[in-house]
Symmetry: none
């Protein structure tokens, strides 16, 4: 009866459409104007309904653009053999990588310490943006001691895959040794590359991979957009 208000009815109907999968994540809703006409109410009444669904985390809106079905944060398992593509494929997300830079540079102090080599030794630098369904998830800098790697610059440039580079260098069985995690705010450059706002919270990981012989083979600094991913730490006891 009068227990159900128009904004509530509309919110219920929209919620139904979303949770039943009639709209896919990322789908753009009709404009508030159109929705208002469709439901025969004022635009503000529709806005009230949308407000509710935004608070429930089902929708988000971008001024000047539209209202969209929220894309849930992508799970990102942290295990001993983490592979970007495998992880995303398991989550049903199309993975892509945009290679920013592949170079051979001298190791700075931190990189040298992490890779257990001397500062100034040559390392291969691989910089890329991790994409999921065209949305940037992460910004990644990988360092590999040049001495222990083959000539993988071309592979990295063309395939953008650390795994492929490792296999080509005879380190197909590399695995994760340790991961350190903290959080920071995005600076202007990172915001630009990750398509987020300056100041947005980033998940920062420092990870080391080792060969099956236990030699340090890769040091990786990653910056994830906090709102788009969660790391999943799996405990095996």
């Amino acid at each position: 009866m009068s227990r159900s208000f128009r904004w509530q009815v509309i919110a219920d109907e929209l919620r139904e459409d979303i949770v039943k999968g009639r709209y896919l994540p990322g789908h753009k809703l009709d404009t508030e104007e159109v929705l208002a006409r469709r439901f025969g109410v004022n635009r503000h009444t529709v806005r009230r309904s949308i407000e509710v669904l935004k608070n429930e985390g089902l929708l988000h809106s971008r001024r000047g653009s539209g209202v969209y079905v929220h894309r849930p944060a992508t799970p990102y398992p942290l295990g001993s053999r983490t592979r970007f593509r495998e992880n995303l494929a398991r989550a049903g997300v199309a993975a892509g990588a945009q290679v920013l830079r592949v170079d051979v540079v001298a190791a700075d102090e931190e990189v040298a310490r992490m890779l257990q080599i001397r500062p100034g030794e040559m390392v291969i630098l691989f910089e890329a943006i991790g994409l999921a369904d065209q949305t940037p998830l992460s910004l990644r800098e990988s360092y590999m001691p040049a001495q222990k790697m083959g000539d993988v610059v071309g592979i990295l440039r063309e395939q953008g895959s650390i795994t492929a580079a490792m296999e080509a260098s005879g380190h197909g069985n590399y695995k994760r040794a340790s991961t350190k995690i903290t959080a920071g705010n995005a600076n202007l450059l990172q915001a630009d590359q990750l398509q987020c706002m300056k100041g947005d919270a980033l998940l920062i990981t420092h990870a080391c991979n080792v060969t099956e012989d236990g030699e340090m083979i890769e040091f990786c600094r990653s910056h994830f957009v906090g709102s788009r991913v969660f790391l999943d730490v799996h405990q095996e006891a």
Copy 2:
């Protein structure tokens, strides 16, 4: 000035009044009409601000009656406390904490899902700030199903230790089942409690602990100040 809207400014001011304890719990606010005049805005603008604070759980309103302060003023983390050292490798295990709140409350939807119980079932809520050298490191909310716990409210209040509460309830051998990690920006209340800036990057962890029988016994949400901690995830296998 386009970054601060009037409803935002008003919400901030009202929140400040509540959090700092200028209103007692249950205190009735001035009417929307009066508040509107006081801030020199339309009644709807004040309503928008009140809406925000209701969503944060600070206010509630009763039609025909008024708007009331919902929760007691949050204790302000000041004053001398015993120093303690915290092993951050074991995330969430705060050895000694400043207890903010211990209560028995109804489980909301997320907590119920994580603990595998029904929404509305009673859970023990434990809220504390982890400090190191007087500096807040983390904000922690733990939820435990009341049915499976003994009368541990006193223990939690006095000792501030989850471990002690578990042992008293016969769950001494509980262990970590899963940890999910993401990042977000501090809101005003969190910034206040963690003594950081609003918008600062926070490391957010959701962890589940199970009994040795595999039953969910604790769900813990932690917020770490990104600039003050480094979680260390150790991989074995």
